[in-house]
């Protein structure tokens, strides 16, 4: 029989750590010593050393105190005035979005059945439908890990569709996303490799240099991937022309978007995009130190595209009772769950909980909310850019035609962005993302982000601080 010292310590997370339950399981399972249950594992495989582990904090009060003693060492973008975006943007998150993603029913489960998961699956369908409305596409999958991974999968979809293996991307692409894309494009020694060709940037507006595009695109080109707005904030004014050039050689057009811009900026379907990808983080998800990122893929509802999706996707269907609505997974078999190495890339856990926040956000905003947030962001960011551009020694690289983010050039101030941002920190301001390492051709430049959360006073505070810093 079991000696009392071998019983578990009762713990709030484990019902059967109670002695009575544990002993009853031992009895029914016909176990004398718990070690009998591990008979499959050879003795020489087992760890027999001591553990160097901190003591247990099973008391919630103690744990909470410990956690906060560490977490309080950070200074947040709520403590400080933040002008950093660059792939992870500070927008206001409505309280209801947080309420929904912390509802235990949405927060804690994995899979049920189509009937017992009905509510959640409906949210997913509403996420797909609303993303489709924003981007002008009518086939949308469940979310992907991030903007960059969505782009990576889209490039691979295009390569499978046309059997070509070269993608053109703008030279302004976010270095973080570019690294992800490079990973997804693989190695020339192995199968499925897609080579990445950089297309130059038009120095006048930050869009794609069309002459350079024409010189690089060919019948070898599988796809062109460009963004609207670009990583550096520019609205891609020649989007129609770029798509036409790409279609002229039979290449697929993949466009990456920030969906929060789509109440005012044309959806990619307007300029003939074939595959649309983008970020979901601005739609009701906190930055979470970069852990708020998510992505999506959307296309026209054509089998040619649908049959290359790596994601799972929810489809509206019926039940055994006429007229009753239900949701099932379409094209499950082509996923890695269905076909292992013969599936379309792979899928797994993604950021499905954020789809709940996104659907809630898009429903709260409605058509007018998206129009107004787009308008106010574009006005506020242009206002900030205009004032910053007036500061001696400071200039804005592209003075108009951008959305939310813009490039500020400090080269003439004789200070580095690093020095400027250090000084701004003394004013409790997070200055823009330093571009000087990743884009040396831009000199000492930084990417500033202005959203709906920045008031006119916030902008004046920034401008006043910048004036002092560069004086």
């Amino acid at each position: 029989m079991m000696s009392e010292k071998n019983l578990p310590t009762p713990h709030p997370f484990m019902a059967n750590s109670a002695a009575g339950s544990y002993k009853e399981m031992l009895r029914v399972a016909e176990v004398g010593d718990i070690e009998e249950l591990f008979e499959q594992i050879p003795s020489e495989h087992r760890y027999k050393g001591e553990w160097n582990f901190p003591r247990s904090l099973a008391s919630e009060a103690e744990l909470f105190k410990h956690m906060n003693s560490i977490l309080k060492k950070s200074i947040s973008s709520e403590d400080n005035l933040n002008f950093l975006g660059a792939g992870c943007w500070q927008h206001y998150v409505p309280a209801i979005c947080d309420e929904m993603v912390t509802r235990t029913e949405f927060l804690t489960p994995v899979w049920g059945t189509p009937s017992s998961d009905h509510g959640r699956t409906q949210v997913w369908f509403e996420f797909q439908s609303q993303i489709g409305e924003l981007v002008g596409m009518d086939f949308v999958g469940l979310p992907l890990y991030s903007f960059g991974t969505a782009a990576g999968h889209a490039v691979r979809m295009a390569a499978r569709i046309n059997g070509r293996s070269e993608v053109l991307v703008p030279s302004t692409l976010d270095p973080e996303r570019l690294k992800v894309l490079k990973t997804y494009c693989g190695f020339p020694e192995l199968s499925g490799y897609v080579s990445i060709v950089m297309v130059a940037t038009d120095p006048h507006d930050g869009g794609i240099d069309v002459a350079d595009l024409k010189s690089k695109i060919s019948e070898r080109t599988s796809s062109i991937y460009f963004e609207n707005p670009t990583y550096l904030g520019s609205i891609e004014a020649r989007a129609h022309e770029i798509s036409a050039i790409a279609h002229g050689v039979g290449a697929e057009v993949i466009v990456g978007v920030d969906p929060i811009s789509l109440g005012v900026i044309a959806p990619p379907s307007d300029y003939a995009a074939d595959i649309v990808v983008g970020t979901t983080q601005p739609l009701g998800v906190h930055m979470n130190a970069g852990g708020g990122v998510g992505g999506f893929i959307a296309t026209r509802d054509e089998a040619k595209y649908a049959k290359e999706y790596p994601t799972l996707q929810v489809s509206l269907t019926g039940t055994t009772h006429p007229g009753e609505l239900a949701f099932g997974l379409t094209l499950f078999h082509q996923s890695s769950y269905g076909s292992r190495e013969n599936g379309k890339d792979w899928t797994g856990n993604s950021v499905y909980l954020w789809a709940v926040a996104n659907a809630t956000y898009m429903s709260l905003m409605g058509p007018l909310g998206f129009k107004e947030i787009g308008e106010t962001i574009i006005q506020r960011s242009h206002y900030a850019a205009a004032l910053i551009d007036e500061i001696p020694g400071v200039s804005v690289k592209w003075k108009q035609g951008f959305f939310k983010e813009f490039v500020v050039d400090f080269s003439k101030s004789k200070l580095t962005v690093e020095q400027i941002n250090k000084k701004l920190l003394e004013h409790s301001i997070f200055g823009g993302k330093d571009l000087s390492v990743d884009f040396p051709s831009l000199g000492q430049s930084a990417l500033y982000c202005i959203t709906e959360i920045h008031t006119v006073e916030d902008i004046h505070t920034l401008v006043a601080a910048l004036k002092k810093v560069v004086a």
Binding site: F125, N288, G348, T455
Partner: protein
């Protein structure tokens, strides 16, 4: 034996689609109005956008009041059983997700942090990440962990990418283009290996549930890039030859990756490094108490030995030696990124908090309780007519999960495992896990009791299964046509793969079915 089951019925709100709840002019959110001095300076927004790029018509999103949106999504949450019932979903290690962790991660010093902030303002989150890295090093014997991978499959992809980078750095990638796995490994292993460009070799299982050493020897060669395996796998069987496997692959020059998705039953008994593995992966949203979110945000914590650290995706969180932390970009020969930034940070924070709440003794207890609960279940399940155990030749005690089959029940009654799964939801018991592809056991099901569920919950789960198996024999139609007490009835899946019938958006549905109501 007839036991009293719950008189359960799912909540039914008959909730319309959000797009159908729209009324012209209603507002759910008001945006901060642009101040007049801003407009005076820059003019209207439309003048700031190139004409060709102006949106011509507004998106057809719902127009609703704030309360209507809240109520709609609350209704949908109530129409989701999830963990409100009993879920013994095998492979996913259903755990309690401590509520205090939600309180912690929704504080602004986690939620409202931009990853580009100056490093001195990131010290709290970096310290938690680093401390958790050290706890996992202790549990695995490995030398460094990263949290960038957005789930277990993404960690497997990370391994495939690490394998590429490692062999490319040695000039051997063109030659080493094969990754070996087993037919019982999680599908993400072969799938990510293939997506990374490798040829996949899949070893077949023997009667005792794992491939033979000879089968491995027969495929290992100078073309071997890596081995990717689960152990124990998701049928509760441990490959006792695993240390020898690792040796064989290492002698051939390949890397060995331990998919530790099924770590729960062996926590504190096995360390990946002790078995010789170069790298392993833990699921923070499963084993380490992070919430699943219905499919993420998740974290596949990826750890490796010293020799592979230069290839890890960056940036790495490192200690500065003075109590501070910094982010270090890794070498150019490395993976670079598998995803933007440093991972789902709130999940890492929750996992750290969970692990501290458990302590090493708690982890040991949790492993013991999980394996014990599974063996307790086996004793009761094997008494139910129509249920058989997978891989019966393996006579030893199973670990934290067991694969069973309802093949005999199906033969006798025509009722399948999916029918049984549906019918169980009528009693407040959510889906069990069936099996990954391929199915080795006919009509499979795979429960995992874990350390969360009480003996009463487990008993109820078994009582429901037994009741449904009896129903299958007395009234098979009742089971086949189930569920009857759920939010909606049995799914009609016949059109899901038909391009003319599927509809992943409301717009597509309206176009294809020429109507505005489903």
């Amino acid at each position: 034996m007839s036991k009293k089951l719950k008189n359960y019925h799912a909540q039914v709100w008959d909730e319309p689609l959000v797009m159908q709840l729209s009324a012209v002019g209603r507002r759910g959110a008001i945006l901060p109005a642009t101040e007049s001095e801003i407009t005076a300076r820059v003019g209207a927004a439309q003048g700031l956008i190139p004409y060709a790029l102006l949106r011509k018509s507004l998106p057809e999103l719902p127009e609703m009041s704030e309360f209507e949106v809240q109520r709609h999504y609350l209704h949908l949450s109530q129409q989701t059983m999830g963990m409100m019932g009993i879920s013994l979903f095998g492979t996913c290690t259903m755990k309690y997700n401590p509520r205090v962790n939600e309180r912690l991660v929704y504080q602004h010093n986690v939620a409202e942090i931009n990853p580009h902030q100056p490093v001195e303002t990131l010290q709290g989150v970096l310290e938690v990440i680093s401390k958790f890295d050290h706890l996992l090093r202790e549990l695995s014997g490995l030398d460094h962990f990263v949290f960038q991978a957005g789930g277990g499959a993404d960690a497997a992809y990370t391994q495939a990418c690490m394998t590429r980078a490692y062999h490319a750095s040695r000039g051997e990638l063109a030659q080493r283009n094969e990754i070996i796995t087993t037919s019982q490994a999680h599908p993400c292993n072969p799938a990510t290996a293939a997506a990374a460009g490798f040829k996949v070799i899949t070893l077949p299982l023997e009667a005792d549930g794992f491939p033979s050493v000879e089968a491995l020897r027969a495929v290992v060669s100078e073309r071997t890039a890596a081995l990717m395996v689960n152990n124990p796998d998701d049928v509760g069987i441990y490959n006792p030859n695993i240390a020898e496997w690792v040796k064989i692959v290492h002698e051939a020059g390949g890397l060995c990756f331990y998919d530790h998705a099924n770590f729960n039953g062996v926590m504190t008994r096995l360390r990946a490094a002790d078995l010789g593995f170069d790298a392993c992966m833990y699921m923070l949203h499963k084993t380490f108490g992070g919430p699943k979110g219905g499919g993420g945000p998740a974290v596949g914590a990826y750890g490796c030995t010293e020799k592979l650290i230069p290839f890890l995706p960056g940036p790495l969180v490192e200690e500065d030696g003075h109590g501070g932390y910094f982010l270090k970009e890794n070498s150019d020969a490395g993976v670079g990124r598998v995803r933007e930034f440093w991972g789902n940070v709130p999940v890492v924070i929750r996992a750290y908090a969970w692990t501290r709440a458990m302590g090493i003794e708690g982890l040991r207890d949790a492993a013991n309780i999980s394996v014990l609960a599974n063996n307790y279940m086996e004793k009761r399940l094997m008494k139910i007519k129509g249920i058989s155990i997978g891989f019966p030749d393996m006579k030893k005690r199973r670990l934290e999960m067991t694969r069973y089959g309802l093949g005999d029940l199906t033969k006798d009654t025509g009722v399948t495992t999916v029918d049984v799964q549906n019918r169980m939801t009528d009693f407040g018991v959510d889906a069990y896990w069936l099996s990954h592809e391929p199915w080795f056991v006919p009509e499979p099901f795979t429960p995992e009791a874990g350390e969360l569920w009480s003996i009463e919950d487990i008993d109820y789960w078994i009582d429901v299964l037994e009741h449904v198996c009896n129903e299958a024999r007395t009234n098979p139609e009742l089971v086949k046509s189930s569920p009857h007490n759920q939010v909606v009835h049995k799914l009609d899946g016949t059109n899901l793969d038909d391009p003319d019938k599927w509809a992943t958006t409301w717009k597509a549905y309206r176009r294809k079915y020429k109507k505005d109501t489903p």
